[in-house]
Symmetry: C2
Amino acid sequence: MFELDARLNNDTVFITDLPLCRVLLMNDSQFPWVILVPRVAGATEFTDLDEKQMTQYTFESLLCSEILSVLYKPDKMNIAALGNIVKQLHIHHVVRFDCDVAWPAPVWGRQPAVPYEPAILDEHVSRLKQAFSTKEKI
Amino acid sequence: MFELDARLNNDTVFITDLPLCRVLLMNDSQFPWVILVPRVAGATEFTDLDEKQMTQYTFESLLCSEILSVLYKPDKMNIAALGNIVKQLHIHHVVRFDCDVAWPAPVWGRQPAVPYEPAILDEHVSRLKQAFSTKEKI
C-alpha cells in the first residue's frame, strides 16, 4: 500500500492525484515548487517504476511543467529526483527566477522554507487545483 | 545544428552518442557523474522535446541509471535537469554514496570539482564506453 512519507506530508499541501502521481505544493513561499510522488509502494528510484508507470510519469511531469510555466512564467524549471534524505521517490518541479533568493544555486538545503501566509497559500492551491483539473481532461 | 555548450565540453569527457543524447562523464573524481545532453538544437527544457524525443530520452535516462547502478552500486541516484547556469538542456545522473563529500546535500555548487588522475579517468571512461556499447544493442 502506498503511504506518503511523513516529512513530505508535513512540508507540503495536497493538490490532486493524477493517475500515477500525487501532486503536492511545497509550503515555501520563496519558490513555486510542486512535487510529484508516484503512488507506487516502495519506489525510491525511477528504475523501480515499470515501463507503463515510467511513460505515465513522463506525461505527468510534462503536464506539471506546462502548468507551472503558464501560471508562473519561470526563467528556468528545475526538475530533480534526489531522495538523499526522504527515500520515497518524489520529483521536484521548481519554478526558478533569476531574481529568487537562491539563484543560480539549486534550492535544496540552502535557506529554510518560508511558509506562505494562509490566504496566499489558498490562492496558489486554488490556481493549481484548477489548472490540473482542466489539463487532466485534455 | 546541435553544438555542445562550451562549459559542458570543458568540464566533461565524451563517452558515446546514444540515438538522442550525448553521454558525458563529468571530470570530478568525487562522484561518478554522467550527463545526458539531448542533441536537439536550442532545447533548454524538457518541454522543448517532442513526444518521440521525450520517450527516447526516458529510455536513455533509465539505461544510464541502470548502467551506473551496476557499475557503482550507489546508495542513491540523483537525477536532475537544472540549467540555471548552462542553459542547454542537460540532465545530471549522479551516483551518490552516504559517505561522499557532499552527502546528504546535492552536489552542485558546494565543492570545487577534483579532476580524475589521467589513468583513473581512462579506466572510468573505458568501463562506461563498454557498458553503453553493450547495453545499446539490447
